[in-house]
């Protein structure tokens, strides 16, 4: 049995709201495996985004430990954590956050360019990724010239172009109709899930729950369900 891709121990996160301290996550212990698609579901405000942010190294837990592929990421010095994210993590943001002034392929190539790869070479790899996503013909277009769905595929390409070992994705289907949502999920399963890669998807879209390999339900900052399918009550 191989070690888990992500391992959280007693992860707790507080936020300061004025005088009050609110605890958003209460001692989360999770092991997440590579090679499958893990859904993080729960009602609005249950702490999904907070948890995924902590698991991918962009939000410090108040307490607890997070290991990503064996590395205790919050034990790293700041600049090493940044470098760790650059090498190991692919992000798919809900709002895509593409850079409007550069074309689609360059946008998708950003992680490689940031790693120091030559721009032309990085773009080539991005275009290769576009082929898998069926948007190779859009490579030279600016984000504003693409449809929302195409922009999302560019964002997916950007998350995968540098072959990260962990892919995180916040609400990929929130803005899509049921059919498009399923298509994107199929696509993600096809390109993002791999033997040595963990893929975590935050969603509260019940139309796609059947596509998960594992579902974790969060409620008030605690994991209340962990299984292949949703619990009956939902």
């Amino acid at each position: 049995m191989s070690a888990p891709a992500i391992c959280t121990r007693d992860v707790t996160r507080d936020f300061q709201a004025g005088q009050q301290t609110i605890t958003v996550l209460h001692g989360i212990d999770l092991d997440i495996k590579a090679g499958e698609m893990t859904f993080l579901v729960g009602e609005s405000g249950s702490g999904k985004t907070t948890l995924i942010s902590i698991m991918c190294g962009i939000l410090w837990p108040t307490l607890g430990e997070v290991k990503v592929f064996g590395t205790d990421i919050y034990d790293l010095p700041d600049d090493e954590l940044v470098e760790f994210r650059l090498q190991n993590i692919g992000f798919i943001f809900q709002q895509y956050n593409l850079i409007p002034a550069i074309d689609a392929a360059s946008n998708a190539a950003v992680p490689l360019i940031a790693q120091g790869m030559d721009r032309a070479e990085a773009r080539e790899k991005a275009v290769a990724m576009f082929e898998k996503l069926n948007i190779a013909d859009q490579a030279d277009k600016l984000p504003s010239q693409l449809s929302g769905g195409q922009q999302q595929r560019v964002a997916i390409a950007r998350a995968l172009v540098h072959e990260p070992r962990l892919v995180v994705c916040d609400e990929p289907t929130a803005a899509l109709d049921a059919a498009s949502g399923r298509r994107v999920m199929d696509l993600l399963r096809e390109v993002a899930v791999a033997e040595d890669r963990a893929c975590i998807i935050v969603t509260h879209d019940n139309r796609i729950f059947d596509m998960a390999d594992r579902i974790l339900v969060l409620e008030d900052g605690k994991v209340i369900h962990d299984g292949k399918t949703m619990p009956e009550t939902h």
Partner: protein, 377 residues
């Protein structure tokens, strides 16, 4: 990443041009105003520049500049000539006078009487006529800027004027640096100047002297001062005196200081505001880059590249615009001989760098304060 930074900036043409405009405008204002400032101050030394020869100026200890002199007795000339190390020394008379033009207008002018024998004290170049024409009876020569002002639309040559009841004829036009007071300057011989200007026993304003080879002007100044009790100044010192007099006695430094400061403040305001708007518009993208794993060092370089590009283009346009305006005004006689001292573009460059550094630091603070976790919200 620098390429991405540049594209981010140029991809927003309105802000990009706003930034370039802000820098160009500041550069123009600072460069142009400093240039005019320096040149205006320089006018205070016009009387020195227009003295074609002689490295040492000797005067009464009370005298300050070529235009603020206390007359000396004529024996001062012999006293200077007898100092060892003086190659030659000539007298000069400088005084205000009123002339009446043929049209009957009364004008205030400056009379400069130069050495009869050698004509030393005349400007180096003439626009019209020949220096030796000064020996023709009743002839005076007028400076070019004064000539265009006194005789608009007329040929100054041959114009007859009345100078303290005596008839004078314009027989030449000198090529000179206009003076600060912007009165016309009439050149004549020393002996005739004595006649034109009624006065007291002591009439000599300056003695202009030249050291023999092997003695520096300042050594000669020391000797003359020690032996004659008069005040001596080297050409350089006397130039400086003229400039200092303007600084001490006019509001010019203050007024120009205000405009230059304004150029700086306007630059900071336009550039600072536009740049922070630009950063704010792109904060999501910067946040995404930070999450993906772009280091603060790389972001610093990106912002520096953006500021650098704006500075480079804006400064270039600003300097071009300055040269353009100077060129456009060059036909105005007031601006005759104006030049851009090499220090001025460097000063405005320094101002541009400070403006952009302030702006970039502010922008970086905004970016650094953005939590990468904000991208999921």
């Amino acid at each position: 990443m620098i390429w991405i930074a540049i594209r981010m900036l140029t991809g927003d043409p309105q802000k990009f041009f706003g930034l370039v405009f802000g820098i160009a405008f500041s550069t123009l204002l600072i460069t142009q105003q400093l240039t005019i400032f320096v040149n205006l101050l320089n006018l205070g030394a016009a009387g020195v520049y227009n003295n074609g020869n002689g490295e040492v100026f000797v005067m009464d200890p009370a005298s300050v500049t070529t235009d603020v002199t206390y007359p000396m007795p004529s024996t001062a000339l012999d006293a200077v000539r007898s100092v060892e190390g003086v190659d030659w020394a000539v007298p000069q008379l400088r005084s205000a006078a009123a002339v009446r033009t043929a049209q009957g207008d009364l004008e205030q002018v400056v009379i400069v009487g130069v050495d009869d024998a050698t004509l030393t004290g005349m400007p180096k170049r003439l626009v019209e006529g020949d220096k030796s024409d000064l020996r023709t009876p009743d002839t005076v020569m007028v400076d070019d800027v004064g000539a265009t002002r006194m005789f608009p639309g007329l040929d100054p040559m041959g114009q007859v004027l009345e100078l303290n009841d005596q008839r004078v004829v314009i027989g030449g036009i000198t090529d000179t640096v206009p003076g600060f007071a912007s009165t016309a300057v009439f050149y004549t011989t020393y002996s005739r100047a004595l006649r034109y200007i009624p006065g007291t026993r002591n009439r000599m304003s300056l003695v202009i002297a030249q050291p023999v080879a092997g003695i520096t002007p300042s050594q000669l100044v020391d000797k003359i001062e020690a032996e004659t009790g008069l005040k001596g100044r080297t050409r350089e010192e006397f130039t400086r005196d003229g400039i200092d007099f303007i600084i001490a006695n006019t509001g010019i430094p203050f007024n120009f200081g205000i405009t230059v400061a304004l150029g700086f403040v306007v630059g900071v305001a336009i550039v600072g505001l536009t740049f922070s708007l630009f950063i704010r518009d792109n904060i999501k993208q910067f946040g995404a880059l930070k999450a993906i794993g772009v280091t603060n060092r790389q972001i610093r370089k990106m912002v520096a590249a953006q500021a650098g590009l704006v500075g480079f283009i804006g400064y270039g346009f600003g300097v071009l615009a300055t040269v353009g305006t100077m060129w456009a005004f060059s036909s105005n006689p007031f601006f005759k001989g104006f030049f851009v001292p090499w220090q001025v573009p460097l000063i405005s460059l320094a101002a541009v760098i400070v403006i952009l550094a302030l702006t970039a630091l502010l922008a970086l603070r905004t970016v650094f304060n953005t939590e990468p976790a904000a991208v999921f919200r």
